[in-house]
């Protein structure tokens, strides 16, 4: 489902020198698989998720999702691919403050422009007209409502993020990430800012929804409590040569 091969990524230091972040020979995730990525702060976990999502381009290497190599896609195509096939849950939720919970979910659909292949001909024609004015394709609002009800926010759909609790905000973020029926869900420490009571709730929600929707899940976490619930746990230091080298250097210096 997901395959990274010979991926390298460096940033540039303020003095102009390169700062290597990733050097991964191979990393793969099977279809429907749920796995956890762990590693120390600054070891490149978020950068790896950005590279997988096509938000950040690697310096070299391949990032294949199903049959598509997103590193070969022009930027606009990559954006569209991300909108249609990848869901992303951020550590800080990253909800858009000016929009209601429902609008945050439908906005993701607007960017993906999901075609509804199962719609009747008149419904498809209506979609075409709505598209001129940026309306949602037929049935998308219903899906957004369904997802919010699914995460237990059926009664809070018109509330803006500032009027939602932290746990509720993260649940909106989960609903938003699943809005476009992605094949792959990337979750960057989704429970880090949530209190202990809500952590398990969020985690269960993510895992169960991914299972139901047959979505592969790559979850980044610092929490051993979270990590131990997954069958597959990968340490970034193990397969990222940059992190490995750093770890070795640190070991030598101590």
């Amino acid at each position: 489902m997901l395959l990274l091969r010979d991926v390298k990524k460096s940033f540039v230091e303020p003095d102009g020198s390169p700062l290597p972040i990733l050097d991964i020979e191979e990393f793969h995730v099977a279809a429907g698989e749920q796995m956890v990525l762990v590693g120390k702060s600054g070891c490149g976990k978020t950068t790896l998720l950005h590279v997988i999502a096509g938000i950040t381009r690697p310096d070299c290497g391949k990032v294949r999702i199903n049959d598509w190599d997103i590193t070969l896609m022009p930027e606009a195509e990559c954006d569209r691919f991300r909108a249609e096939h990848i869901g992303y849950v951020f550590q800080t939720f990253n909800l858009l403050r000016g929009f209601s919970a429902l609008e945050n979910v439908t906005l993701a659909m607007r960017f993906a422009r999901l075609p509804n292949e199962n719609a009747s001909l008149p419904a498809q024609m209506l979609d075409t007209v709505l598209d001129l004015f940026g309306g949602l394709p037929h049935g998308d609002r219903e899906r957004a409502v369904h997802l919010l009800e699914r995460v237990g926010l059926g009664h809070r759909m018109t509330h803006k993020p500032t009027h939602l609790s932290v746990g509720e905000q993260q649940r909106v973020a989960v609903a938003r990430a699943l809005a476009n029926r992605p094949k792959l869900l990337l979750a960057d420490e989704p429970t880090a800012n949530v209190d202990a009571g809500h952590q398990q709730q969020i985690l269960d929600l993510l895992r169960q929804t991914c299972r139901e929707e047959k979505v592969s899940l790559v979850l980044v976490t610092h929490s051993p409590l979270v990590a131990q619930q997954f069958e597959r746990v990968e340490h970034l230091e193990e397969f990222n040569r940059v992190s490995k080298k750093m770890k070795e250097e640190e070991g030598l210096s101590t």
Binding site: A53, I55, E75, D79, T92, F99, E103, A108, G135
Partner: protein
């Protein structure tokens, strides 16, 4: 959710800054609307002043423009006079071109600073050019009260007051007034009285500000050189019974002007009344009459030009086509003022546009994170660029529409006040075709000023901006 709505939400999020930029744009557009409407009304008023006739024939002295200024706009004094014979020849179409109507006007008298114009009943039959499809051409003069005076002897000492003149001089129907000769000079002297038989509806032209009197009465009151045997006149208390006097009695006029109470004169002059009455109705030979100008209507444009050429060939008078002279006047004087005002108003709109740019650009630092979220959700670079452009367009158009409403609201409030003072018919419904251009112009301006912040949004580094704290 449409991109418009996304842009609108962004505006709502920064409501104060958005409101302020919208107001500044609205003020700019208000000024543009005011300038356009006033400019158009001024042009209309100027052109309407000369509407109803095709040609003005006046004395040969002075320029065409001076002739138009004195006979259409009642500005300045006529240089000299035109022999009555020229009027008669025009009336009888003796210049080789058929003439539809010839209306003489005599200037030089005033009443309470309002010009008194001696003319014939034909003045009130003047018509505007027939509009396409209209069955009847609209008349230049319509009456609020009363009627037009006739050329008959019974109406010789009657007058018709323009709307503003009647109001400002406090004249009502059946009131009498005594014009003063030598308008604007200190040696003014009063004439016999004219009775108001009609009050005109406002026309939005300088005619609103004048008092029309019967030309025959005008001739029979004094001071109009050669108008009657031994020109010179003085008033009596007999209402419209103005008396023509001989030049030998001129000292009396001086007294009247210098403030001697009329009653004393009346007593002293009571025995002259019979003679005066005779003078009043005495025929005046045509060769003693003169006019300030003649307003001429022809049947077609080519006739107007032929007649003007014929008259300008001779030495008796000069002919001016008012439409042409008014166009010159507008272009040379009013036109440049219009342009300067319009340039200022447009500059204010431009400054307001730059205000929008600065406002959105300054907000970009705060918004970079949100733009990065949208990009991470799959929004393309062009999509976020469009959202910023739409935001700029919404602010500009919102300001523009508010400005249009404010501009016309201002006209509604100030219109009657301005109309009263400067005789311009201003109404909030004075929409100009040019105002339609404001919409595409504002969209273009918004696109230009929105482009810089939109480009900044376009170039947002998603990875970095996502990591940065919101």
């Amino acid at each position: 959710m449409s991109l418009w709505k996304i842009a609108w939400r962004s505006i709502q999020q920064r409501s104060l800054a958005s409101l302020l930029t919208t107001i500044s744009m609205a003020l700019g557009v208000t000024l543009v609307v005011a300038v356009l409407v006033v400019n158009n009304v001024v042009h209309q008023a100027f052109h309407r002043g000369g509407a109803g006739y095709d040609l003005i024939v006046g004395p040969p002295k002075g320029s065409n423009l001076e002739l138009v200024l004195s006979s259409v706009f009642y500005i300045g004094q006529p240089m000299t006079t035109l022999p009555y014979d020229v009027y008669l020849k025009l009336k009888r179409s003796e210049f080789g071109t058929p003439v539809k109507t010839a209306v003489p006007i005599c200037l030089g008298d005033t009443y309470k600073d309002k010009r008194v114009v001696g003319t014939t009943a034909a003045m009130f039959d003047l018509e505007y050019e027939e509009a396409q499809g209209a069955k009847e051409a609209p008349k230049v003069f319509n009456f609020t009260q009363g009627r037009a005076f006739q050329d008959e002897e019974a109406d010789w000492f009657t007058a018709v007051a323009g709307a503003t003149a009647a109001q400002q001089a406090g004249l009502k129907l059946d009131d009498s007034f005594r014009p003063t000769h030598d308008a604007g000079t200190k040696t003014a002297h009063q004439h016999g009285a004219f009775k108001v038989v009609g009050i005109l509806k406002p026309t939005g032209t300088p005619n609103d500000n004048v008092l029309f009197v019967n030309i025959e009465g005008f001739y029979r009151v004094g001071g109009h050189s050669g108008a009657i045997p031994g020109a010179g006149a003085r008033s009596s208390d007999s209402g419209p019974n103005s008396v023509a006097k001989s030049s030998a009695e001129k000292p009396h006029e001086g007294e009247a002007a210098s403030g001697t109470p009329p009653a004393e004169h009346d007593k002293a002059d009571a025995d002259h009344d019979h003679d005066e009455d005779e003078h009043l109705h005495a025929p005046i030979p045509d060769d003693r009459k003169q006019v300030s100008a003649v307003l001429v209507c022809t049947y077609k444009d080519t006739d107007t030009r032929a007649l003007a050429a014929e008259i300008n060939k001779g030495k008796e008078g000069q002919a001016a086509i008012p439409a042409e002279q008014i166009a010159v006047l507008l272009e040379k004087i009013v036109g440049s003022i219009d342009l300067v005002l319009l340039v200022f108003a447009v500059m204010i709109v431009l400054v307001a546009g730059i205000g929008i740019m600065v406002s959105i650009y300054n907000s970009m630092n705060d918004r970079r994170h949100e733009i990065a979220i949208m990009r991470a959700l799959g929004a393309q670079r062009i999509t976020v660029l469009l959202v910023i452009l739409l935001e700029s367009i919404l602010l500009s158009l919102g300001g523009g529409l508010l400005g249009l409403a404010l501009g016309h609201g201002l006209l509604a409030v100030a219109g009657p006040w301005i109309a009263e003072r400067v005789n311009l018919p201003l109404s909030m419904l004075n929409f100009q075709f040019a105002e339609l251009w404001l919409v595409p112009a504002l969209i273009m301006l918004a696109s230009i000023v929105g482009f810089l912040p939109a480009l900044s949004a376009y170039r947002t580094d998603v990875g970095k901006s996502l990591i940065a704290n919101p």
